[in-house]
Every structure is written in C-alpha cells, then in structure tokens.
Amino acid sequence: MRKIILVFTIFFFIAGMVHSSETWAQMTAKPKLLRLTFYYPVGVAGPLARVIGEMTDKFNKENEGRIEVVPVYSGDYDPTMQKVQTAIMAGNPPDIFMVEISELPTLLTMNAVLPLDDYVKKLGKVYWEDFFAPFRENAVIGGKIYGIPFQRSTPVFYWNKEVFKTAGLDPEKPPQTWDELRDYGQKLTVRDPKTGDVKQWGVTISGGWNDWLFEAFVRQNGSWLISPDGLKANFNSKEAIEALEFWVELKHRLKVGPPHSTWGSTPPDFVGGRTAMLYHSTGILTFLKKSAKFDFGVAFMPKKKTYGAEVGGANLMIAKRISKERQDAAWKYMEWMSTSKNTAEWSAASGYVAVRHSSYDDPVMKDHVSKNPEYLVARDQLKYAYGKMMGKNFQKVREILKRQLDDAAAGKIAPAEAMQIAQKEIQGVIK
C-alpha cells in the first residue's frame, strides 16, 4: 500500500514540477507589471544574444516595476517565423517579434501585426525619415507602417587579398563588373594538378539564401522580381534570365564557383581559404574579422548595368491581438531600441547596418567605423539598394525559386525554362 502511495506521490511530484515553473513565474510577477515576450532571431556565432539581453536589461531597469521585456532567442529566421506563427495560431502571440522582412504579407493575412502609424506620427518626420529609405520599404504595405527596422543588412562582396596577390591581381582592386568577376573567377580557381579537384573556388555565391542573392543580381541588371505591393511576379524578364545565365556560366560551365552550398558553410569556407571571393551578408563581417588569418576586403557587389542590391534582415513588430496596454508598452520598448544611440550600439556590436542616418553621428559608431571602415560598405551600398521582394506565402515562393536556381546551377534545366516555371508557380502563389 505504501508503495502505491509512493508511486503516485512521485508521479504527482513530477507533474507538479512541470507546472511549477509556469505558475511560479506568474505568482512572483509583481502586480501591475507588464511582462512582454519578445521573439528574436540572431545568429549564434558572436555574442548577439547576449547583446540583446544586455540592452533589454537596461530598458527593464529604466522601467522597473512597470514593464519587463523578456527576450526569447528563437533560432534563425525560419524557426523564429515558425514559432511566431505557431504562437499566433495558438492565440498566444509574443508581444514583440522580429521576423524576416519578407514575411510581412503572410503575417498580414493572419491579421497578426499592429499598424504603427499612430505611434510613428507622434515622433514626427525627424524619426521616421531618419531611417534609410530602402530599409523603410519592407516595413510599409498599403501605405501603413508595420515594422521598425532594426536588424538590417545587405549582401556584400568579400575578397581574400592574399590569394589575389598570389594570382597576380591587385589586392586592392576587387572586380567592379560582372565581366571582371568572371575573369577574376577564372584566374582565382585553383585545381589540384593530379586529380583535378578544386582546392580553391574563384567565387562562391552562397547557397541557403541564394534567392536573396539572386534578387541582387537582378537589380544589378536593372530589373525587379516582385512588385512592391507583393502581387505581381516578374521572374521571366530578359534581365532575370540573363542573371541566371550568368550564374550558370560561373557555377556550371566555367566551374569557378560551387553550384551549391549552405548559408552557414560558406563563411568558414572563406576563412579556410576554400574560396577566394564570396557573396554573403554584411552580417558575417564580425565573424570573418575574428576568424580570418589573412587580410580581406569588403566591397559593393559587382555591377552589370548598375550597382544593385536589396536589403535584408528583420524588423521589430508588435502583435495585433494583445491589449492596448501591452501594445503601448511594446511600443515603448521598440522606440527605446530604435534610438540613434541604441541602434548605433547594436550595429557596432553585431555588424548589422545601423538603420538610421543619425546612428552614424553617434560617438560609439564613429569610433567603431574609424577603426573598421569595412562596416561602412553596406551602408554606402544602400544608395543602390531597394526593398526586398515580399509576398504572401513567401516560404513557398522561396522554395520554388531556390529549386529552380539549384536545378539550373546543376545544369539540369536551362535558365530560360527555369525562370518560366518560377514565374508561373510564384505568380500562382502570391496572388
């Protein structure tokens, strides 16, 4: 008999512990304290989660007793979006979240994002127009503001100065045009004389987010992929097909770049000397600086008709279906995080582009860029940057585009045909 009681006691003890941490948290919360959850995506390489934590602690101290923001590290962009959507569907959305900018139309369809115009208007033009224009583009749909730029980037071009020297190229002159890129790529690809295996790729156009990089190439060729309202697809334009043909030439015919890779594998490849030139986000700059044993440069992506880029990253957003009180508190946090000073601090610590013009006047930022002028490249490229393409069902759009890019790069399908398929399928999905 005693043993039965023991078994049940243990069972209930375990069950109790399971619930305990949830209820304990609620019990110890002081009355009137608004505890907000904030889901955010940050890469793990680099102490970015800690930076978010430290900045949030400062905010919480200033608002002690009234607001407490709890940052929840949610993985990379995809898992964060998944968690946000799951929470929204469960009727329990995080109060504040940062998801990849192209997910906005999908979130709007789920009626999950709060328009911020009222808050932004109160701060006047001085606030909103201080954000770089390309960054603002993905925060606005149908004339309404839904997000505040925070963790933003553009793709940039990295090159290994030492292997440039070895190949007889001027280490201070990166390729400026597509033609030069092709030329340098061929000069910089090193193969093992006996086996023919590639020991060093000339140029790696990173996979994983190759859809993002592809959009940049299309911009460089003077065209666009999805209209700003997210409803019209334009994948089978002459310029887009030319861009893909260029990729196929580099990756499949001339074989100066790997046809496939993952987003996380190519920075170590660059650091390990596996590739001489690299297309990747400005967000890895800090990682490269810490890990590379050689001198490298950062530049605009080479141009075709023009320099071109599109932006990337994530904006801060507020959930729609929370109480007005929580919305106001969430805004307070967002406003705080988006001051010139704090965006400067975030940028200096993370390597992401500081999102406001005035951030660059901040002394922390000034000091940072004087020591590390490479961080200014992405900002300067903003002159040629546009908003990132977005649309409903964006995850599906990405899958469709990436599939065609992958197949074309492997030589399995002609670029023109690939883009026709992409056009048909994507247009069907975003309407």
Partner: protein, 267 residues
C-alpha cells in the same frame, strides 16, 4: 586473427567520429581550418564548453529533458503494467481485438501523428509546455507487449495460490508480478529513457521558448545560424548533449546492451 582484424577495423571506424567530436570541441576556433586533420588538440581549449552555456541555457535544457523523460517513463510504467497484466492473465470479451490495438499502436509512430496531435494540443491550449512533449508517449504498445511476455513466463500457480491466500488483482500485480518482471521493466525503462532523450521532431513542433526546450532542440538551433558555423562550439554542444547517456552507457554497458537485446526477443 582475421576475425579480430575485421572487428577492430570496424570498431575504429565507428568510434572515430565520436572522438572527432571531442577533439574538435577542445580546439581554438582558428585551429579547425587546417587542411590536414589534427586529432590531438593542442593547445587545449576548454573555454568552448563554458561558452556554450552563454550562448544558450543548456543547463535549463538539461533539466527539461530530465523532467520530460522521467515523466514519460513514470506514466508509461503505470499504463503498460496494468494493461500487460490483464492481457497476460485474464480472459475477457474483445481481448484479441484490444491486444491488436496495442500492437497497431507500435506501428504508428509520432511521425505519422504529429500534425493532428499538434492541432489537438492547440485546441486545449497546451502548446509550449513540458506536458505537451510527454502526452503522446504515455501509452506504449511496445512496452505492453514486452511486459505481457514477461508476465506470461511467471507460473500460473503462483497467482492461483495468491488468490487463495486473499491476494489477488492489483495486490498480486504489485507484490508478485512486478518484482518478478524487474529485468523486463528495467530493460523497457532504459529503452524508453534513451529513445525519448533523443526525441526531436515532436518537441520541435510543440515548444517555442527556452523554458521548456529540451537538449536536442537546443542543439539543433545551434546549427541554424545566419553568420557562419563555429565548429568548436558546435562540437562542444554536441558533446554536452550526448554526454549523460554516453556516460551511463559506458558505466552500465552490460545492462544497456541486455535491454536492447531483449527488445527483439520474441518481439
């Protein structure tokens, strides 16, 4: 002689990857970029193991994992023991049908039911809790089957005698059958603990926040990064996540091996 040669070779090939985890985890970040593999890390860097805790709350993940696997096992032991008893010892209407149900349950893995189960939990507002991770596993056709076999080995006369002495049903189960079936219960427990320690798909879907996250999910998040893989940290995290089970395995190898071998017996 050739026998040992082959076995040694295969053993080395199988064990080497794990040693590679340990080796990489003890290196400095820039040391991994050497073209020829360095098996012995020198200088040794134990910082990686400390750093992973700053990257993510692995201690919290460990606690959650322990709570979840023990919770699952606790309830499983109750459900399988009760069911196995009547399948082994009683006859009743529909016995074969119900037994068939338990057998079928073994064939329908969580990978086939995760979506509807997710929707069910969503309806009852149970998402993102440790209970959610445990619920689908509380019934175990497999455990019921194993235990039934074990109970059937125990001579009927014992029960008949016990009934005469006034000890039947639950009391008999508790005082006689369970102690005699200890080896099977232990075997099942080890299998259950290990397999649920290693669960991934289901916890991935039902948990969002670190408070309830388990080790495997925490590890999986490490590899999804925007800015480049830091292999020394990744391997340190991998070593940490696999350490508890590996340590128990090395210490209690015989019991572990017996348990898993038992799982296939007449099963």
């Amino acid at each position: 002689m050739g026998l040992h040669l082959i076995l040694m070779l295969v053993s080395i090939i199988t064990v080497a990857p794990y040693l590679w985890i340990l080796s990489t985890s003890l290196k400095y970040r820039t040391e991994v970029f050497t073209p020829t593999p360095k098996w012995i890390p020198w200088p040794i860097n134990i910082q990686n193991y400390l750093e992973i805790f700053q990257m993510a709350p692995f201690h919290l993940y460990l606690i959650n994992t322990v709570l979840v696997v023990t919770g699952i096992l606790a309830v499983q032991l109750v459900t399988i023991t009760l069911a196995a008893y009547v399948f082994a010892r009683r006859n009743f209407w529909g016995k074969e049908f119900f037994f068939f149900l338990f057998l079928i349950q073994m064939m329908i893995p969580i990978h086939a039911t995760f979506l509807p189960n997710f929707l069910t939990l969503k309806t009852f507002d149970l998402l993102n809790t440790r209970i959610a991770i445990m619920l689908p596993f509380f019934a175990s056709g497999y455990g019921t089957f194993l235990l039934r076999q074990a109970f059937r080995q125990i001579p009927r006369v014992l029960e008949d005698a016990a009934v005469i002495d006034g000890c039947g049903g639950i009391r008999f189960l508790w005082h006689v059958l369970i102690p005699l079936a200890k080896p099977t219960l232990l075997a099942f427990s080890i299998i259950s603990l290990v397999s649920h320690w290693n669960d991934y798909l289901w916890p991935l879907i039902v948990t969002d926040t670190p408070e309830v996250r388990t080790l495997t999910i925490g590890l999986g998040m490490f590899v999804q990064q925007e800015s480049g893989a830091d292999w020394t940290l990744l391997m340190a995290a991998t070593a940490f996540v696999t350490a508890p089970v590996m340590i128990f395995f090395l210490v209690f190898q015989k019991k572990f091996v017996e348990s898993f071998m038992l799982s296939g017996m007449k099963g």
